[in-house]
């Protein structure tokens, strides 16, 4: 009987129920899209921040000014740092806090099909023996530890030897040219052309997936830039900044002598940067973490915005449902009055109405969830440049939200239903 009644209403009020389902679907799709983007992107960025080795970048002074002014990428400015100065970084006051660093040189090369490819020269696991007797393997093997190796392995400079002509290829590029470990690719640079053997394919989850990474000397040969590099990434252990460090970062000259000494001898990012600038000619060292931090802050704001959109859309959905359910109950007021008159208690009738709404809500919720999944992918690709993996956690959260929204939206209608007096609606006809 119960289900017969429910079927009756669903069939008879299918338009209203469809509207309710649609309203819920809309809310649920936004909620699930926003939640999955929030959870997944949050994870991605957090992971990057954690494993992101470098917290200082060093670029030529002119490149720094230019990139500040025009926001162009460094490397195309014609200003370079000298490769032979790299060792000096391990001679600064805070040398022991420098745990890793690597030089970079970006050049454009042309593949055989005429496509321009960005080729980055760097250290992979460059072995250094320092004057102090300390030994260090520096390079992107550790600075890019979050790279996922899809095929092959990390390029090993120490065993490869200078003539090996190896490279590592980003996953997007590898897919485009069908490259796997062991395949070769012929590239033409400004000054020379070389055939490189792919040592490994990596997935960095960003623009690096479209690039080729090769040992520094290989890339220098492409462009005829022997001994030149265009940036250095340094990973240093630092003390969190305080007010003194901030003041010093702006202008070390503003400090008193004793303040200067305190600052210089504390491993603030700014003091390490300062010391690096002292040893690398015409360079500007700046803290990357600040960039990462502001990225984090923007991400937090974006997340907040998404949370707000979600909440607002859910409130909107609740209001919409509220309207529709109330209208549905009002339309049936004489029927509900009759049920009460022939002995139905409030609980049974509320149960009936709620069941109808929830059947509709489940339908709408599933629809919305599916739509939201698609929506999340679109956001992921357009905004963050990567696919969004749906966290299983999203399902129960969205389910709970749908239930809450549906309940909240039904409250006024249920209240009306409870206060509906059979005598009033049944004798309304005369």
């Amino acid at each position: 009987m119960f289900w017969r009644m429910i079927r009756g209403t669903l069939v008879r009020q299918w338009k209203k129920m469809l509207m309710i389902a649609f309203t819920i679907a809309l809310g649920a799709s936004l909620a699930s899209a926003m939640l999955s983007v929030m959870l997944d992107v949050g994870d991605k960025v957090n992971q990057e921040l954690k494993t992101y080795g470098a917290n200082i970048t060093v670029v030529p002074k002119s490149a720094s000014v230019l990139s500040d002014l025009y926001e162009v990428e460094g490397g195309q400015t014609g200003a370079y740092l000298q490769e032979d100065e790299l060792g000096k970084i391990k001679t600064i006051f805070w040398a022991f806090n420098i745990v890793d660093y690597a030089p970079f040189l970006d050049v454009n090369v042309t593949a055989d099909d005429g496509t321009q490819i960005r080729c980055v020269g760097s250290w992979f696991n460059h072995h250094m023996e320092l004057p102090t007797g300390e030994q260090l393997d520096a390079g992107i093997t550790s600075l890019r530890s979050w790279w996922e190796i899809k095929s092959g392995a990390w390029l090993d400079e120490q065993t490869a030897g200078d003539s090996a002509q190896l490279c590592m290829v980003g996953s997007a590029l590898a897919e485009k040219y069908g490259l796997t470990a062991g395949s070769t690719i012929h590239l033409t640079g400004e000054m020379s052309d070389q055939t490189l053997t792919v040592a490994g394919v990596f997935d960095a989850g960003g623009e690096e997936d479209d690039q080729i990474f090769a040992p520094l000397n290989t890339v220098q040969a492409f462009a005829g830039l022997d001994g030149k590099i265009d940036s250095i990434e340094v990973s240093a252990l630092t003390t969190p900044d305080n007010e003194l460090a901030e003041r010093a970062a702006k202008d070390p000259g503003s400090l008193t002598v004793s303040q200067y000494e305190t600052w210089y001898c504390t491993c603030y990012v700014s003091s390490i940067c300062y010391q690096i600038q002292e040893v690398i000619t015409d360079s500007v060292a700046s803290a990357v973490r600040q960039v990462a931090d502001s990225e984090g802050a923007i991400l937090d704001k974006t997340k907040l915005l998404m949370a707000l959109i979600t909440i607002l859309s859910l409130i909107g959905a609740a209001l919409g449902i509220c309207n529709l359910v109330t209208a549905s109950v009002m339309e049936r007021s004489s029927e509900i009055g009759l049920m009460k008159a022939i002995g139905a208690q409030n609980g049974i009738i509320s149960g009936l109405v709620l069941t109808e709404i929830f059947i509709t809500a489940i339908f709408g919720g599933l629809l919305g969830f599916a739509a939201g999944f698609g929506f999340a992918q679109i956001i992921g690709h357009t905004v963050f440049g990567s696919a969004i993996t749906m966290k299983p956690m999203v399902i129960p959260i969205v389910a709970i939200l749908v239930v809450l929204v549906t309940l909240a939206g039904s409250i006024p209608a249920i209240r009306m239903l409870l206060h509906l007096r059979p005598a009033e609606v049944l004798h309304g006809g005369h």
Binding site: M1, F2, R4, M5, G8, T9, V11, R12, S334, E335, G337, L338, M339, K340, A341, I342, G343, A344, Q345, N346, I348, R421, P422, A423, L426, H427, G429, H430
Partner: protein, 262 residues
Amino acid sequence: MSLLELKNVYKIYGELHALDNVSLKVEKGEWVSIMGPSGSGKSTMMNIIGCMDKPTKGEVLLDGVDISRESARNLTTIRRDKIGLIFQQFHLVNYLTALENVMLAQYYHSMPDEKEALEALDRVGLADRAGHLPSQLSGGEQQRVCVARALINYPEIILADEPTGNLDEANEEIVVDLFHKLHNEGTTLIVVTHDPEVAEVAQRTLVLRSGRLAKEIVNENFTGKIHFDESEGFRKEEVKAANGIQQPEAPQKSGKKKGGKK
């Protein structure tokens, strides 16, 4: 003890006394008609007796229980167990079949029982229409479904508020005959009507005027059958006079009788 007793019942809406110090008794098995001009408080009284409304003042004893003091929840239970309701507008659920409409009352009372529901439809002569939706039934047939629904749970009292108001004479007679059957089976009947022909078949007719019990007419030659013969309708004139609507009665009646179907 009377089955139903109203003691000094008032229902006051602001200034308006819809019921004004009404006292009456209805014995078990009695068939009572209630008449009165429009607005005299008939429906108000039926709602109070039917546990759908509470009096402003006074006591309403149903089976010895004062229903003017009960909670809404208990009133629903009392209504479910003791009262069968018949309405002028039938109030059938329009997406349920005749049978299902009867079963709905069983469902809220205890358990739907298809066999019993079919028997009830058979009693009102609609066994062959069990699977029809209300929209597929005539007004008279719908009212008979409503009667079947009212009697399905063996109520102590059947309350009918203008049950024949939307029916033509043929259907009116069928419904009155059904009342007669129910009366013979011992069911207590309280029927509100504007129609003297329907009123006069009862054992007793109570006349309300402006919320007060104005008159009580006892039918000495009670048969429970409707008389259409005007010549022996001496009581009818009396009832009409009591109703206070001597002249408008005729057109109003014929107007209503046009609408056999909604």
